[in-house]
Subunit: 116 residues, 2 copies
């Protein structure tokens, strides 16, 4: 199997979590400290730290110490750009769904069931 699939799967797995996705989104706007992220997202600091450690290991974000804070930022904007494209596609799909919401689901998002 092409190694690129394994690498990409690792990166995707890292991004495949709502909170990490939101983190990436926030960090795309501006670099931020762990505490700021925890506050903005209203979740526990150790949890934020763990997610960031994963993203760091996958090369999605970079960390840099700044005084007693540690500022995280996106390591590769291209990756998150691709993410943004996907999000657009999904939003089109959501809009389309909302448009004809009374339809035998079929192809479109059984995950729409996921839309809670």
């Amino acid at each position: 199997m092409e190694p690129i699939y394994q690498l990409q799967a690792d990166v995707l797995k890292t991004l495949a979590h709502p909170r990490r996705l939101e983190m990436a989104h926030l960090l795309a706007d501006e670099p931020m400290s762990v505490g700021s992220l925890a506050e903005r997202m209203a979740i526990a600091q150790p949890n934020v730290s763990q997610h960031l450690a994963l993203m760091r290991a996958a090369g999605v974000v970079d960390a840099e110490r700044d005084g007693r804070e540690i500022r995280y930022r996106l390591a590769d904007p291209d990756i998150i750009r691709a993410c943004g494209l996907m999000r657009s596609a999904l939003q089109r799909r959501l809009a389309c769904l909302a448009d004809i919401s009374s339809r035998p689901a079929g192809a479109l998002i059984t995950a729409a069931a996921g839309r809670r």
Copy 2:
């Protein structure tokens, strides 16, 4: 939390597996039956079937019966296009790495993070 993050996380999670990624890649080239996929990828048919079921539930692929075969194809090429963009970005990173060093493959990701 924005619901779009949950939806996208579900799709990403579906794609975050080397085999499913390869499947998506193969299906992007041409629609294919379960058996063909199993043969091309040299993995067991039930395994292929399970992966396809997941991708189908996430709306990544569509299924259509054709005689006694069932042909799968990509449901939303845009999503896989975004995937392709990400892959390009990662390949650039790989190339950059190969340029610099001959490290053990396991260190690739973190090394890549370090290199940027």
